[in-house]
């Protein structure tokens, strides 16, 4: 069972913290310290370092250590797919989205889904649901995504009707 999932940066600032077991927070200021309280005899910390972030999973002996390393890799790749070249700033500004993605992968401390495509599909569907509810405030966002998804047909460069040949000027594209 996974006891906790934490992401922090090189300076120790927490970027995400999810605990699957109630923990005793001795001082609300220092999340990393309260993690050490969880580490009992059975628990291990398995971590991977990507650029400026540390992804730390605290697991007990029922999880395979090497398997968790792979799981971290899958998680990061999923984040990459959802955020397009994910970087630390994405995690900072979209914590709730990261939580949602994580919720699709790990539930109650156990691995739920490891197939990246599946997770991304579900996340997309849920995001769409959210957007549909957004009402007026969501209009600009909807417009942008509508244009993005628009499939403009190929503009013919030369129109030949009989003897008339019209050269179509190069219009700026709306992608």
């Amino acid at each position: 069972m996974i006891k906790a999932i934490l992401i922090f940066n090189n300076h120790g600032k927490p970027r995400l913290s999810k605990f699957y077991q109630p923990y005793v927070s001795i001082s609300p200021r220092f999340n990393p310290c309260s993690l050490l309280l969880i580490g009992g005899s059975d628990n291990k910390l398995i971590y991977r370092h990507y650029a400026t972030l540390y992804f730390v999973f605290c697991v007990d002996s029922s999880e395979s250590e090497l398997g968790i390393l792979d799981l971290i890799q899958v998680f990061v790749e999923t984040l990459d797919k959802c955020f397009e070249n994910v970087c630390e700033l994405d995690l900072i500004f979209h914590v709730d989205k990261v939580h949602n993605i994580l919720a699709e992968m790990v539930m109650g401390g156990m691995v739920l889904e490891t197939n990246m495509n599946e997770i991304v599909t579900q996340i997309d569907a849920q995001n769409k649901l959210e957007k549909s509810e957004a009402g007026l405030a969501g209009a600009p966002a909807r417009a942008v995504s509508a244009v993005k998804n628009m499939n403009l047909p190929e503009i013919p460069r030369n129109i030949n009707i009989g003897d008339i040949s019209i050269k179509v000027p190069n219009l700026p594209s709306f992608k």
């Binding site: 699957y20 609300p28 792979d70 109650g108 490891t114 579900q122 509810e133």
Partner: protein, 823 residues
Amino acid sequence: MPAPIRLRELIRTIRTARTQAEEREMIQKECAAIRSSFREEDNTYRCRNVAKLLYMHMLGYPAHFGQLECLKLIASQKFTDKRIGYLGAMLLLDERQDVHLLMTNCIKNDLNHSTQYVQGLALCTLGCMGSSEMCRDLAGEVEKLLKTSNSYLRKKAALCAVHVIRKVPELMEMFLPATKNLLNEKNHGVLHTSVVLLTEMCERSPDMLAHFRKNEKLVPQLVRILKNLIMSGYSPEHDVSGISDPFLQVRILRLLRILGRNDDDSSEAMNDILAQVATNTETSKNVGNAILYETVLTIMDIKSESGLRVLAINILGRFLLNNDKNIRYVALTSLLKTVQTDHNAVQRHRSTIVDCLKDLDVSIKRRAMELSFALVNGNNIRGMMKELLYFLDSCEPEFKADCASGIFLAAEKYAPSKRWHIDTIMRVLTTAGSYVRDDAVPNLIQLITNSVEMHAYTVQRLYKAILGDYSQQPLVQVAAWCIGEYGDLLVSGQCEEEEPIQVTEDEVLDILESVLISNMSTSVTRGYALTAIMKLSTRFSCTVNRIKKVVSIYGSSIDVELQQRAVEYNALFKKYDHMRSALLERMPVMEKVTTNGPTDIVQTNGETEPAPLETKPPPSGPQPTNQANDLLDLLGGNDITPIIPTVPTSKPASAGGELLDLLGDLNLAGAPPSAPASVPQLSQPPFLLDGLSSQPLFNDIASGIPSITAYSKNGLKIEFTFERSNTNPSVTVITIQASNSTELDMTDFVFQAAVPKTFQLQLLSPSSSIVPAFNTGTITQVIKVLNPQKQQLRMRIKLTYNHKGSAMQDLAEVNNFPPQSWQ
């Protein structure tokens, strides 16, 4: 009131804060705004506010006032609200807050919602933080969802079920029927979570385990799925670095492990597939190694055939050669677990393991060290010891203590020769002398005493070792003890093993004195040194005056322990000079008491126990057989042998009855009259430990055996009362009572006894050494007799005491033991 700022704005603002104080200020301001917004019951912006609150919670600020708001969000109809609300519930609430129960109804409704994503949210929240009450209420819903055909919901329901089972184990049976079809799914997500559910059930309840083994035929199903995974070609959706769904493979292997443990049939069924996985998996990436690792663990745990086990250990051996530290770590940990059972197979990889000792990583070094100690045996001891000593030289301080203890243990078990053993010990003492455990010192001393022919060599080497450097306490303690014992060999220069060095008595005393004076020596070490100097007074001929001077100086030392010793030794020089040589004689070969390991305190050599004030210094026990002692002579016959000297003959707290131990071997566990009764308990020889150590001294049964008067003369009467031990029928416990009918006290009373060869005797401490006059009191003493051959008990006793100003002594034989006392 203006619209509350968006989460993004908040984050941006907080990031501009340059100091902790600034950040705190910003957050407090925002919290105040959020709080007033909550009070206004603002539905539109509640979602935004809670999102900001969650962010601040992650940074570590208190956010409990948002808990109720989360509940309101959950109850809303909008998906966006629900999403944030459930997330907030998972982060801010847990079963310790009473508020969480209010969620139950909402979750129930959402579990039956039309949109699968809402159902998913509800399942997720329940599965993460559901308390036992919630689980009890909602288990039915979860079970229903477990049977749905929607794979998205099914997998979530499976994990939710695991959580329910963890919280409320009694509900396990409820989920049993739903599990029947779980493994027939095609969707890997559902398969994965189903395997997790089955694993949880099997781990929790042995009944379930049996049920799954027999009725459900789980093993063949799992084998089939695993086979498909391996055999199927490349499938893009489950592929991770060329292997098809490794996560599922690992899970299945783990479940197989649980099913196959202690069960022959299941283990049979999975042998083939395990062999297949082990041979076909690619090991170039971490993924393949993860699967192999899981396979190895499974093979080790089930009742696999030996060929498979050897394959597993070979895989672990290959892991050890891998460049990746994680893999090596994992391999060493597993090998450590299997070394007990598959010793020979692991031996083959010994050289690789020993190479790991040179690794840079601390955790790998530690495990390699433990594994190396486990692999040491009679054949490889020399080579291994070389490596281990080299490791001891170069390792970090935190390892040195464990390494030293391990080396001592290994050397003790497998030493090819005494000289090698002593050399190894010397090497450890000189390289890691200060890290050696305290109890190693007495062990070593005992070892050295026992290798009689090596005394000269040992003392010479020890002398040379401390000549340069006497800061390592255990080394100095052992050296001081040896020099004290064998100083005569040192100055006489009779060493066979190596070039004898020329040392004068003065030089030896110089070094001992510098140990005494040095600031680096601890109190214990000083004690050793002082006693050593004292012992040398009988072994050295020309420097006795110097020794006397040193000893008298310390008579006024601030250290109470040293002062006491010095005073007593002084007294030895003055009043008891005639006894000095007998007292300070060579120690006999000590009995080997079984050692349990580095942490076992075998025997103190007396130096470390605080002694009550009246006692004399530790006498040296007599030589075993070549000194006929008085009592033996008097008793004449060859059928009477000395009683086995009980273990620490050198206990300082001995000699209570002053002269009790001097006459030696017919001794009698010699504890002082004033010492607490617990002291004799420790010193009982093994044979009496079986019956009586943990039980009260006087066992029941008994009485019914008449008591006898063993001696009655000159006003002194000694009575014996008997008891038989419950647990050990060949042990008889005799209590003697000595009474005095004359008009003057008898002081310094000492009782000694001897029995025939076939018996063994142990004398415990007397209650006092004064027999008061006019029968006003008695001295009580307990004797334990072991009579394995059930022969008639006979005893010869010797009494010494002071009466009317003169020393009296008497011998007698006791033959009138009642038959019940020995039959």
